[in-house]
Amino acid sequence: MKISLQVNGAPADVEAEPNELLVETLRDGLGLTGTKVGCDTGQCGTCVVQLDGKSVKSCLLLTAQAEGSEVTTIEGVGEGRELTDLQEALRAEHGTQCGFCTPGMVMSLSELVADENAAPSEPEIREWLTGNLCRCTGYHSVVRGVQRACAMRTADTAAAATAAKE
């Protein structure tokens, strides 16, 4: 069947079988291989993308269900190839090792920190990562990365406030 969606800001009309999963369309159909497949049962989170701004597992969504929706994959994150502040903070904390879980982590955490003023606590960050498994980092550097991203924003806001006052 013919399905129309927006992928990373551009319209994409794809031909997909009814039983085709969004992750298959993204990877095989559109060549967006940043989204990974790490399991068969929805636990690993390596396939997380955003559907209309909400993080979802693209292995648990039919392409047909995404008709008319805006899909954002890791390839569509940030301006061009510039890293977002979250990615930058994860880089600074070495929040990736083998990188296989990383696109899913970024797409999931981007929702957690979508609000400019997001300041999740450590337990909240850890909880949020329930849907993302990582076998390399033990999650520490990922959690620190999120904390750093939020702290950087607070620092920016504070700096901006000070600048505005002066």
Binding site: T41, E75, A92, H94, G95, T96, C98, T102, Y139, S141
Partner: protein
């Protein structure tokens, strides 16, 4: 010639250059590869753990849409079985046959008999992955089930089902190390003897990336290329070309694209590797196979799996005099490429850890069973050793009424005794165990746990503290020494450094990163040694065409093996530059200084040349003496004189919910000694990941087979992995005792911190329950087991 200390880049937490690409999702893993005309392979694995195959009907599958080929064992009659290259050293052993008289492992496809669930029987190649997977389901196999055995101790009993004709009683080897007589005598004479029956349960490594392989046969040249998620491309090339396919070495190239974690699973030969190559040749199309998670769990090597009876003898006043271990090691249905060595030497020779014990003895019955092949799991062998020793020490301390820290302190190998022969086959290179041990206890606040225990009790929690120390043999390794351990191959490492005319540097090494940031650290070593900007250094590895030989990444070896190879090669580059400098500056060679990436005549830095200028000069080779060859291109093959022995002390603090038995790790302190550290950012990441991995084993992970040999835990719904909320931030510290066995003084680091966590947490749990007389709880320590211990009721969970 004077070579001044150049920069001090090594030891700095410089940024990881791989990370940007990974964070953008731009790295290419095997599953991301697409070659023109690529077809897709799916594998049919056995439904039965042990059965005779009376027939296979592939006709329906062959008629399915898109199917290009259905193949069974009969199609590959001329292909040799996979070999096993690490056998139990120094003892008689029995293996399935290989035509070269080597130890064999498994055929590329099983024909007459299947020996574990998932044993590959047939393959389908089709136009799309879905077509291949659908067609596999249409293959009809006529199985005649045979009796099944899944436990090593039962497999060697009389009357047990027999797996391999060439292996009587399924016994691969009875292997021993240490001094049996002295150990038995010491035990007989000991004032105190404590014993434990331990199950170091089977675990599944579970890298997030399942394995995959793409085979590409080029009809025009007759060349084969294998792209695979492997940690050892050179090894795979050698084994596949020479010992499986029987094709000229020159005809096979092996490439590892980005690899999504391994932890010991991706260094092995698997049937899919020769299969994609053979089928690519037959179909004249690239053939791709990517595993599923369930497929991985039923085919990729698993770890641990020892059943042990362990004994410790000592004096009433805390001196350990003997340790003895009898272990039944479960090798799975076929010996994995290096499984038998892992299950014997890596475990057995390590059992006394950091302690100076008068006599020790370990015996291992390594046996085949109807389960997935056993391989290495992060910390393999050494984690099993640390677990048994550290559990014994705690039990001993309880028995004699002494604080577990005090008993450990009393028995640590003194710093004056290095190199230290542990009597089991290892000679520890260097260490200051006391310093390391005291630092960990201090950081953990061990002295004031009593107050914390009382405070926790007030909240309905039982707090327990557990210590575990370890020594982890790493840096495999000295090739001759490894041959004595039964390794059928060299284990050295190599490096080539090529300086481009512009002064940029290409470093190629034989290792293969599976997520350990090799490009960063190897560039860092080269830049440090050459005194140049690391940004000008490009690192190549994991491609047999680009890189010199090398053994790949395993056993925490990369930094302490490839690192020195790079340093030694850099030295050759510098030496050659200095010789050229002598000619250019017209001074004797010993008056040429190489410092901070500059070459100059002593006292005349101003007229010196930069590294890049020298590179260009040597590229042009104008007016340079005939005995100095043009260009800068040097290679080193590094075979160390001996292993290296990182060590450490971990302290776990757990809280147990008195009502539910749930165990939470509330604090974790790790002080590890990996010798000189190249990039602390990388090492800390490895340590954090390693500890989490170890916590997984002790608290939740277990590969469980039912009596028919079906893996019950065959997906991530049934096999639990640690999640972010399962771990607290750890407190990391280090001590630094360089090894004398390589020029960087570096010891292994990648997996060492996986060795002690299981023991530390188990000790902590038992500590929390000690007033109830609890002496041991088997892993994984589930809430129910703890609850039963709290209530003094035994009886297994269902």
């Amino acid at each position: 010639m004077t070579i001044a200390e150049t920069t001090s880049l090594l030891g700095q937490p410089i940024d990881i250059r791989e990370d940007e690409q990974l964070l953008r999702g731009e790295a290419t893993y095997v599953a991301d590869l697409r070659l023109p005309g690529m077809a897709h392979m799916a594998i049919l694995g056995s439904e039965h753990a042990h059965a005779r195959i009376n027939g296979i009907d592939t006709s329906a599958a062959a008629a399915m849409p898109g199917v290009l080929k259905v193949a069974t064992a009969a199609d590959f009659a001329g292909v040799m079985p996979l070999p096993c290259i690490w056998i139990p050293g120094g003892v008689e052993s029995h293996f399935p046959p290989h035509p070269y008289g080597l130890p064999g492992s498994r055929p590329v496809l099983s024909g007459d008999v299947v020996r574990h669930v998932g044993d590959p029987i047939a393959v389908v190649v089709a136009e799309t992955p879905k077509q291949a997977a659908a067609a596999v389901k249409a293959i009809v196999v006529d199985y005649e089930p045979l009796p099944v055995v899944t436990r090593a101790d039962r497999a060697i009993e009389d009357g047990a089902p027999q797996l391999h004709e060439a292996v009587p009683n399924n016994l691969n080897a009875y292997w021993t190390c240490g001094d049996k007589e002295r150990t038995d005598r010491n035990l007989a004479e000991a004032e105190v003897v404590v014993e434990l029956d331990l199950v170091n349960q089977r675990t599944i490594n579970s890298p997030m990336e399942p394995r995959g392989a793409v085979g590409h046969y080029d009809q025009a040249t007759g060349d084969y290329t294998l792209y695979a998620s492997t940690q050892g491309p050179h090894n795979h090339r050698f084994l596949l070309a020479a010992l499986v396919l029987g094709i000229p070495f020159n005809k096979l190239r092996v490439v590892a694209p980005t690899v999504g974690g391994s932890f010991g699973t991706k260094g092995y030969l698997y049937p899919d590797m020769p299969l994609v190559l053979l089928l690519s040749k037959e179909l004249n199309r690239p053939v791709k196979w990517v595993d599923t998670r369930t497929g991985l769990m039923n085919s990729t090597v698993q770890g641990r799996d020892h059943r042990q009876h362990v004994v410790l003898g000592g004096t009433r006043d805390g001196r350990i005099t003997a340790v003895r271990c009898t272990s039944y090691a479960n090798l799975g249905a076929y010996p994995s490429t290096i499984g038998p060595g892992v299950a014997t030497a890596l475990m057995g020779r390590s059992i006394t850890g950091m302690y100076d014990v008068d006599a020790a003895f370990c015996e291992v019955y390594a046996a085949f069973t109807n389960t997935v092949s056993l391989g290495a799991q992060r910390g393999s062998g050494r984690a099993e050793a640390a677990f048994l020793m550290e559990r014994l020490v705690d039990k001993y301390a309880t028995e004699i009424g002494v604080d577990p820290a005090a008993v450990r302190r009393q028995n640590l190998v003194p710093a004056t005794k290095f190199p230290y022969d542990n009597g089991l086959g290892w000679t520890y290179d260097s260490g200051n165990y006391q310093e390391n041990f005291e630092k960990a206890l201090e950081m953990a606040g061990y002295a004031d746990m009593a107050g914390r225990k009382a405070e926790a009790r007030g909240r309905g929690k039982r707090l327990g503290v557990g210590i575990a120390t370890y020594v982890a043999i790493c840096g495999v390794g000295p090739s001759t020494r490894m041959s004595q351990e039964g390794m059928l191959g060299g284990t050295w490492e190599s490096c080539n450094i090529r300086v481009h005319p512009t002064g940029e540097v290409a470093v190629t090494v034989g290792s293969a990163s599976t997520g350990q940031s090799h490009e960063t650290i190897f560039a860092q070593v080269a830049a440090d040694q050459l005194g140049i900007d690391p940004a000008t250094v490009r690192v190549y590895e994991a491609d047999t065409l680009k890189a010199p030989y090398g053994q790949g990444t395993y056993g925490s070896r990369s930094y302490s093996m490839a690192g020195p190879a790079i340093a030694l090669t850099a030295q050759k580059i510098k030496d050659k530059m200095c010789r050229a400098g002598a000619a250019m500056f017209k001074v004797p060679e010993d008056k040429v200084v190489y410092a901070n990436g500059k070459i100059f005549a002593e006292g005349d830095e101003e007229n010196g040349k930069t590294f890049a200028e020298m590179a260009m000069a040597m590229w042009y080779h104008w007016y340079l003496p005939q005995d100095i060859e043009p260009a800068l291109d040097e290679t080193t093959h590094f075979d160390p004189p001996d292993f290296n022995y990182p060590f450490g002390t971990h302290v776990a603090v757990v809280e147990i919910d008195e009502l539910t038995g749930e165990t939470e790790v509330v604090a974790y302190t790790a002080v590890d000694d990996a010798g000189n550290i190249g990039n602390p950012k990388i090492v800390e990441g490895q340590i954090e990941g390693s500890i989490t991995h170890g916590l997984g084993q002790v608290l939740m992970e277990a590969a469980e087979y039912d009596d028919e040999g079906h893996l019950i835990t065959s997906d991530l719904r049934t096999y639990a992995l640690p999640r972010a909320a399962d771990v607290p931030f750890f407190q990391l510290g280090k001590t630094v005792t360089p090894t004398p066995h390589n020029p960087l003084g570096a010891k292994g680091a990648g997996e060492i911190a996986t060795v002690p966590p299981a023991a530390a947490v188990a000790n902590a749990v038992v500590d929390a329950l000690s007033d109830l007389g609890v002496q041991h709880i088997d892993m994984p320590i589930t809430p129910e087991k703890v609850w039963r211990a709290l209530n003094g009721t035994s009886g297994a969970a269902q």
